[in-house]
């Protein structure tokens, strides 16, 4: 895929919690089609940045532009409609719904106004057609991510690795342009991690996505990302390709600490 214009621009975004500055004047950008990594030690502010981008938190300062539209103070559901979808660090599936229903929920945003409410109650041909389309699209998506065998199982009954995969599929069902993955490999064994890396690459190409990944597993980050931001105490301490990051003294210091000479 051609990597071209800027998709997401984050301008001097700051988020404070009382005296703690979780994200400190973050300034960054993301190109269309890019696979961007975001790393940093625990508490560096990575997830906070995700929450700011997706509208879960309102930043104290700064602006966020998505496709040149200011989305800074928009509520989360509207931001999703603009084309930003996310997964969560700790899996947050709709556990009592079936796998298929989980991906169908994400298509609910296609019902744009409240007329659909009356159509749905009256079961008009239009509403039934929409319902069929949602089901077909949902099944197709599940087939695409290899979950079709579980379509009618409860989401909570899936094994851990597949739950992670379903969470990604559910985000994909909102038809995003930008996908934010918050520690997708957390808790996976090496085999599952390898599969996940292939999977992320695959969905980027099939769905023409740009993907921003937070991950602690360096193998994943270095393996799939084209560019990486390193955060520490809410500030960017390094930016560059995986090779550049691995050699960067500031990154090594943040992860391993400074050598102390006595």
């Amino acid at each position: 895929m051609k990597i071209s214009e800027v998709l997401l621009r984050i301008e001097e975004v700051t988020k404070r919690f009382g005296g703690l500055v979780a994200v400190d004047k973050f300034d960054g950008y993301m190109r269309t089609g890019e696979l961007l990594g975001l790393i940093g030690p625990n508490g560096a502010g990575k997830t906070t940045l995700f929450n700011v981008i997706t509208g879960m938190y309102i930043p104290d300062e700064g602006r966020i532009l998505f496709q040149n539209i200011d989305i800074t103070r928009k509520p989360p559901h509207e931001i999703t409609r603009y084309g930003i979808a996310r997964t969560f660090q700790n899996i947050r599936l709709f556990s009592d719904l079936t796998v298929l229903e989980n991906v169908m929920v994400s298509q609910h945003l296609r019902l744009r106004n409240w007329l659909w409410l009356f159509r749905s109650i009256l079961k008009t041909p239009g509403a039934l057609k929409m319902e069929r389309q949602m089901k077909i699209k949902g099944l197709k998506l599940l087939e695409n991510v290899g979950l079709s065998d579980f379509a009618y199982e409860k989401a909570s009954s899936l094994p851990y690795g597949l739950q992670r995969r379903l969470e990604i599929a559910r985000a994909l069902a909102t038809r995003p342009k930008l996908l934010l993955l918050d520690e997708p490999a957390a808790g996976m064994n090496p085999q599952e991690t390898l599969e996940l890396m292939d999977f992320i690459r695959k969905i980027r190409d099939t769905f023409e996505l740009s993907i921003l990944v937070i991950e602690h597993d360096m193998k994943v980050i270095m393996g799939i990302c084209e560019r990486i931001y390193v955060l520490d105490y809410g500030k960017i301490i390094a930016e560059g390709t995986p090779e550049q990051i691995q050699k960067d003294p500031a990154v090594i210091k943040a992860y391993l600490g400074e050598e102390v000479v006595l």
Binding site: P75, A85, L93, E101, I121, L122, E131, A171, T174
Partner: protein
Amino acid sequence: MQRKTLSTKTQFFLTLFLVLGIWFLLFLAKNNASEYVILILNLIAINVIFATTLTFINGITGIFSLGHAGFIAIGAYVSSLLTLPIEQKEMSFLIKPLIYPLNKVEMSFFPACIIAGLVSALFGYIVAAPSLRLIGDYLAIATLGLGETIRIIANNTWSITNGALGLKAIPPYTNLWWTWGWAFVTVLVIASLVKSSYGRALKAIREDSLAAKAMGINVFSHQVMSFVLGSFFAGIGGALWAHLITTIDPKSFMFVKTFEILIMTVLGGLGSISGAIIGAAIYTVGLEFLRVLEAPFSIGSITFPGIPGMRMVVLSLLLILLMLFWRRGIMGRRELSWDGLYNLLRRIRFSSRGDRA
């Protein structure tokens, strides 16, 4: 054995036959059954309305609301005030006369029901915004207080509700057709909504509202919608109830009323519409059967006097047993469906033949 599904057409006709069957039974009951049985049949239908709406708000959307009695009260008062004959209003309002224009209004039952539902829904809309900022237990306490507030307002606005004296001689318009008709409409609308994309969205909000937001669902407006729709039908149920018992006063709408409905929904399975219907029927009928416990009875030559309230003690024990052994109610979150029934019958047939398909 593989599950099979019936076609939409078959399901539609089966439902039609069921409705016609119930209609026929009601027709028989209306002409043959005693007044007492008819009263219970009416109460079942009204309780079905209450339980279905509460299940919709609490079980499907996951808003733990305990203010249902308040909405029922609004519906009951509004429709009673609209249908009471003008002379009756002049006679009843002894302490303070009824305000204009209510003292000049007398309308028929159906529009009064609709207006009762709309006022109740409007009230639901107004209170939804502040109370939905709260979650979980806090929301429960706030809505409980809300229901009580409505009751206390009814107790003190003498020129509208006739205060503690209540309203008497409300025209007994409610009959089996009205109650079962409205119960049918309520169940149809809510079940149809629950089966649609909106139902999935509401369940998603119940499961994880943060994730629902991230999936593009406007959580707040969906919760308000659920609250408003629930209170609309609760208001209509209240109207039907008022015209059935013909006398209402603020004490009829204590929070105990809410808990009664909550028991029905939990009994049937919180989160299941068919469960709510079953729960409402079992609770209403069961309470009548337990009346024998309050009657005087004799063993040999010793006669025991009846103890008023005894059935409530037994009922509580039964509920505790239910909670111990049937933790999620009768239906849990499952629904009765023709498909389910069909597959059950198939399984029975297969196993009796000894086939293992």
